[in-house]
Every structure is written in C-alpha cells, then in structure tokens.
Amino acid sequence: MRRALRLHRIFISQHMKRLMEYKLDFTMGALGLFISQVIQLLFLGIIFSQIPNLKGWSFNEILFIYGFSLIPKGIDHLLFDNLWMIGYQIVNKGEFDKYLTRPINSLFYVTVENFQVDAFGELIMGIVLVAYSVVQLLSHIVWYRIFVLLLIVPFAVLIFTSLKIITASIAFWTKQSGHVIHMVYMVNDFAKYPVTIYNNVVKVIITYILPFAFTAYYPAGYFLRGQDGLFSVVGTILISVTLFGISLFVWNKGVKSYESAGS
C-alpha cells in the first residue's frame, strides 16, 4: 500500500511536468468543463424563475444534488481517466503490452499513469455549489451528516470507477469498447436530479443496474432530508464494494484473454 502511494505520487509529479509543457491546453479543458456546468445552471435558473419547486425540491436543494454529483464524478475523472484509453486505443493498438511487462498490477499502472487536471473544472464547480447551497439551507442542515457524506464520497467514486473498469475491460474481448464506456457513463447525468422525477424504468436502471443514483441523489437526499438513511448510506457502500469486486474479476479475466496486436 505504501509502495502504491509512493508510485502514485511519482506518476503525478511526472504528469505535472508534462502539464507544464502544455499549460494552455489543459487550462482550456478545465475551463470548458466549468463553462458547460455554468450553462446547465443557467438552464436550471430559468426553470426556477417560473416555478417555486420541482416535484417538491427547492432550487437550493436541486443545486446541492447537482453540485454533489460533480464531486465523485470529478475525483474519478481526475484520478482514473486513463481507463477511457483502454477502451478506445490501448488494447486495440496492442499498447497494453507495456503494462504487462512491468512488475506492478496492470490495473493500478493503467489508472495511475494519467492524472486529468481538466477534472478541476467539475470539482471546483461541485464544491462551490455544495458550499453555496449549504449556506442557503443552513437552518435545515444536520451537522453530523456532513461526516457521513464525506465518508460516502470515496465509495461513490468507486461506483464510477468500477463501472468504467467493467466497460473498459470489454475491449479485451472486442478490441474496442470506448463507445460502451461512453454510453454507460452518460447515464450518470440522470443522477444529477432527484430520482423522483423519473418513471419506474429509469429509477430501476439507475438504482439497481447502473447504480449512479447512489453517487449523488441517495446520499444527497439523506444529507438534506435524512431520507432512507440505511438504504442510502449502507447501500452506497455495499453496492460500490460489490461492483468493485466484479470489476476486478472482469478485468483479470480480460487480461487473460488479451490478444495483443500485430503478428
């Protein structure tokens, strides 16, 4: 574990050096993600200028759910973004060979190799929104729940990462799976809003099949209103750990059937 952290630190510092080479490009990425969130908020603002609440959720509560959803997503994006490349090209072009000739775990190596600072665009926005809405809702906040919420964040990240690992692993059999990752990843946008606005099909999908609702709405709902504490908190932890187990299994199976490229 200590070795893993040490390696991770070294990779990050290497990446930072690379970043200095392409400063402008990376700033643009972070800025782009930031602006896209601002425009989404503008959209919410327009809606709430006409209605007092959305199915019982106030503007500030919606802002909190939306903002909180960006935090696990942003952390996953920051640390484990290289998995996308597994799906798009690393396996297809046979570049995965490199990871297999090193004396460290291939999944670990792939994930730490890249450090995506673009993600700060999402992370900063998420933190600002959460902070703003908490200040607005100050009188309703039950303070000890903040610790529970902080505890949940790593598990919520794990849900994102595990789903990415599973979908990226498909590439070991099909050569490419970038578009499957994309498809699954897009479902997380549903979790930015209260699950109560969706019909049952969507509810079931984002709760039990691609459980993105546990990365945002359920923990946020518990924090804001104390609803379904057991289901939301323990559920997030159980689901993330289970998913992570499955993802490791699929990944290892995939590596075994990796076929490389060329003759």
């Binding site: 390696l7 490199k98 297999l100 004396p103 490389s260 060329g262």
Partner: protein, 333 residues
C-alpha cells in the same frame, strides 16, 4: 535458463461477410474461426546465450515472444524461464526480464529521458546505489549522456532505441528480449547497437533473445538460431550447420560481351540439374547463376562457361546466410 515445451497459441478470428446483409448478420451472430498462430513449438536456451529468433512476417515470432514475456497466455504447452512460468506469476517474473519492442517505445513521450528512468527505478524498486551504478554502466555502453535531458519526442530513432534498451536493462534483468532492435536504423547506428548488445551479454552474462529481419544482426551476434514459419519450428541449431547444410549452393556472376550469349549456355542439360539445383537471373549484360556444387563442381561450371562465351568479368561466391534463409522461407526445409 529457458525451456519451451509444445507451446501452442490459437486466436479466434471474426469472419466478415461482404455486403450490408453480411454485416447485419455478423452483428447478431458473429462467425469466428480459429487460427493457430503458434503450433507446438519446443526449444531450450541456456544461460548467457544470444539466440536469434527468426522467421518471415506472420510466422508467429511475436506471438512466441509475447508468451515468453507473459503478455499472452498460451492455449496449451508450457514455457518456463529461470524456473518461473511467465503468465502465472507475472509480476514477480517480469522483474527478471527486460523487453524492447523496436516498433514501439516504452519511454514517456513528453518528458525528458531521465524522467523515464526515474519512474522505472521506482517501478522496479531499484535501490539508489545500484541505480547509480547501472546508469553509469549503461551510459558507458549506450552513450546516453548527450541526450538524457532532452524530451523523448525530440530524439532521433537511433537515440530512442539506445534509450529503450537502457530502459529495459535498468533493473539488471537475467533475460533480455529484443524484438527488432535495429529496425529502421542506418548502418552506423545498427553497428553501435549490436556492439552494445554484445557488451551487455559479455559483461553481465545476460541471456538475449533477439528477433530481427536483418540477418546481419544474426550473423554478428548469434551462434544459434531458432527459425519458425507458419507457426511451426523449422530449424533449431548453429548458424554454421545451416551454412554447412545448405551451403553447397554457389553463385557464379559474370558480365557478358554479347547479351545473346546467354542463350547458348545450357547448364541444365549439360550437367543434368533439377529445378532446385539451378536458378538463372540476367539483365542482359550480367548474369547470376546459382547452382548446387554437389551436383556440378565449381571447376566444371567455370570451365564450361568460359569455353562457351566471352566474358568481361567473372566471379564465384559462397551463398551467404541471407541467401540460405531466403531459400528456406521460400521452399521450406
């Protein structure tokens, strides 16, 4: 050091049917066929040896190398290197080997070269003292000093290859796999790389498995070769034996005064030679006759030629290794 027994690897390959109908069909019910890339190969390599591993494109060389380095899992059969089975104990195993794929770099593209070494040091857990000594040694052998602070993307191909070899030697591996380490390099650089490989092998006793299409690499570096074709082992032995076995072919080259003269020469009839024992190439001015010296002695052939026609220039050559291998690739053993 290395034991390979009945190694076999099969791949599934999707069959594409033509047309829109075919591609819709393949979407729902993909048809696959099984391709055997490596079929029942066995050989051994002893410690400190430099083994040349050759074969035409698509013969299955890379597949074997990838199984030996733990990248691919064999369908059946066994390989065991220094007492370890690559695909079973991958993380432990790869600490003992170094791998260079000539076509693909393992260096960090955007960073100064020395940064790559700093990261590899951590990955392989090389102690500080040993790291300094290694860098000194590698620097001496591969002359890295002049470009170690440049970003990798600015290196020339020759520098990059030297850097890649150094990267694979940093952790003092017992076995070094070199997959086409001289591809695309000019003669001088090739020469440097070969000398470096020789030096590493001599000073450290590193076992080297070398695949290449450049047979002068093989001639200069290896005593023994393993040749595979279409997934099968076709030759395993000393290069000298190969020369001995197939070396009876000779080449007679001459320049003619009159281009029609060639028509008056009938080697085939005169010496009663088979298809396999004779080939004739000519561009009208000069001609190259390859013949089997067991069937027709050099002396006789020369005598016959000079008696029949006028030549400006004439010489006789041994078939070189390249010629022998060309013959094997074309015709099999």
């Amino acid at each position: 050091m290395i034991q390979v027994e009945n190694l076999r690897k099969e791949f599934k390959k999707a069959i594409k049917e033509p047309g829109i109908k075919g591609s819709v069909k393949s979407l729902f019910k993909p048809k696959t066929e099984i391709v055997t890339a490596v079929d029942d190969i066995s050989f051994n390599v002893s410690k400190g040896e430099i083994l040349g591993f050759i074969g035409p494109n698509g013969a299955g060389k890379s597949t074997v190398i990838k199984m030996l380095t733990g990248i691919l899992t064999p369908t059946s059969g066994k390989c065991c290197i220094n007492g370890k089975i690559p695909y079973e104990n991958r993380k432990k195993y790869v600490k003992e080997i170094g791998v260079v794929f000539g076509q693909r770099t393992q260096l960090w593209w955007d960073l100064a070269l020395r940064e790559t070494y700093a990261v590899l040091k951590e990955i392989y857990e090389v102690p500080d003292k040993q790291y300094r000594e290694r860098m000194e040694f590698l620097n001496e052998v591969l002359d890295l000093q002049s470009f170690i602070t440049s970003p990798v993307r600015t290196l020339s191909l020759g520098q990059r290859m030297r850097a890649d070899i150094a990267a694979s030697m940093l952790h003092n591996p017992k076995v070094l796999f070199l997959d086409e380490p001289t591809i695309g390099l000019d003669v001088v650089v090739k020469d440097n790389i070969r000398k470096a490989i020789q030096k590493i092998n001599a000073e450290e006793g590193t076992t080297v498995i070398l695949t290449t299409h450049d047979l002068s690499d093989i001639e200069l570096l290896c005593d023994r070769i393993v040749m595979i074709d279409k997934g099968n082992l076709v030759y395993d032995g000393q290069i000298n034996n190969l020369k001995h076995k197939y070396g009876q072919m000779r080449e007679l080259c001459f320049e003619m005064k009159n281009s029609d003269d060639l028509l008056s020469l009938d080697y085939k009839g005169h010496f009663t030679l088979d298809e396999d024992d004779l080939s004739i190439e000519s561009d009208g001015v000069s001609a190259t006759i390859r013949f089997n010296s067991d069937r027709a002695s050099v002396q006789e052939v020369l005598k016959y030629t000079l008696a029949k026609i006028d030549v400006r220039d004439i010489n006789v050559k041994d078939a070189d290794i390249e010629e022998i291998i060309r013959r094997i690739y074309k015709e099999g053993v």
